[in-house]
Amino acid sequence: MSARYAWARQLAALAIFVAAWETAGRAGLLNPIYAPSPGQIGAALVDLFGSGRIWTHLEATFTAALLGLALGIVAGIVLGVFGALIPLVAELLEPVMTLLNAIPRVILAPLFVIWLGIGIASKVALAFILVAVLIFFTVFTGIRQVDRRLVERVVTLGGGRWALVRHVYLPSVAAWVLGGLKVAVGFAFTGAVVGEFVAASRGLGYLLSFAQSTFNSALMMAIVLLIMVVVLVIFALAGRLEKYLLRWN
């Protein structure tokens, strides 16, 4: 079988699955409370967009995720660089970061709600902590693994400390961060949505928890679908950016 048409086979399989699901739903074989049919899920989606009430939730989730992402990347780079260059910072920071890395960081969500309230701040904080720890380790371990040969090359060409930072360390750091960007985007949305799910008045996570409390599984699945699409689109954008900036690779 040619790998070229893999996408066609995958699409066909999906179509058959959805059709079977729909048919089973209409034949009354599925309980709509547990497993609403694709048609019902679609209707819920259309209603969300048609009534326009989705926009405020999308906006809330995007704002929290992107703010957390940006702050997390900046903090992760700064802490990672200082940690790699200053032994005392590494000594103090590494155990904390290792601990934060070992636990599922979303368990901090309730704590952030108590500290920062049910507004956007607690969601930004959760997305932030998820991303910052990831980027910290990327940069921290990355700088220690900078290719010694490149350092020696620049030194023997007459480069000083600043030349090393500019031509070797910064590009290396940028490469690692970009390499981890997709994972970081996923983490940022996880943080925002879980934060909203715990306690919020807006956002896709809030909508999800609302659907759960009203036993509206069609709405729930519509939101899950929507989150998937959103993250896939952002993945694709991040992938494009990565491919362009790392075109040397």
């Binding site: 290719d147 040969r149 490149l150 020696e152 090359r153 620049v154 030194v155 023997t156 060409l157 007459g158 480069g159 030349a163 031509h167 070797v168 590009p171 490469a175 075109r247 040397w248 690779n249």
Partner: protein, 232 residues
């Protein structure tokens, strides 16, 4: 570990340095360029540090810079204005047969091409002394022979003094004016100094067919084998 290694590279001379593994050949080059301090003793250079260049076995080009930016880097780091550095880079890439490859990233070049970029990078700085640490070991035979021909021609033309560390006796003899042999480490030292009775300028590939080549090869080979066998 190297002890009491005393050797000199005269102006415009091509000097080979061979010896068993671990005799400290690489350390010696690193000491000359200042990457490593000798525990004892001195390195005397009649040329400024900026006039010494080194070529390692791996090409160590910056992967995120194009070929011409890599070559230009050697100049901009020494305060040459960027436009001028890029013009020089293009010139040197052309001299090394890489005209039209300047905009490629190292990853998109072959091993031989990368080696040529690395050569352009060090030669563009106009060094007076060029150190080479097994520079061509990783290349396959034909690519290697052709780069060696180009190197011989360029160092002749630019009157660059060279100190070449190599495991390859043929390479050493076909390029050098004379060859130092280091003894087995630890406490390696220079045991022999063989003049190469081949005229310069010369084509290093043709040099292998010279009548004096084989006898000298055999002599150094025997001495080198004896050093290798003298493992402590």
């Amino acid at each position: 570990m190297l002890e009491g290694a005393s050797l000199a590279v005269g102006d415009g001379q091509f000097v080979g340095l061979v010896g068993p593994s671990g005799s400290g050949k690489s350390s010696l080059l690193r000491a000359v360029i200042g990457l490593q301090q000798p525990l004892k003793g001195t390195v005397e250079r009649e040329v400024a540090p900026s006039d010494v260049a080194i070529l390692f076995q791996d090409d160590a080009l910056l992967p995120w810079k194009t070929a011409r930016d890599n070559v230009a880097l050697g100049l901009t780091l020494n305060d040459v204005p960027r436009a001028q550095a890029l013009a020089q880079a293009d010139l040197w890439l052309e001299r090394l047969g890489l005209a039209g490859f300047g905009h490629r990233f190292p990853r998109h070049l072959s091993g031989g091409q990368r080696k040529r970029v690395a050569l352009a990078q060090v030669l563009a700085r106009g060094p007076k002394l060029l150190l080479m640490d097994e520079p061509f070991a990783s290349l396959d035979a034909i690519v290697r022979a052709r780069i060696i021909q180009d190197v011989a021609a360029l160092v002749d033309r630019e009157r660059i003094s060279v100190l070449l560390v190599t495991h390859d006796l043929e390479e050493a003899i076909s390029l050098s004016d004379h060859i130092y042999l280091l003894s087995q480490g630890p406490r390696a030292h220079v045991t022999r100094d063989y003049p190469t009775p081949l005229p310069r300028p010369r084509d290093p590939v043709r040099a292998r067919m010279h009548a004096a080549f084989a006898p000298l090869y055999e002599k150094i080979w025997n001495d080198l084998s004896r050093e290798v066998d003298r493992r402590p």
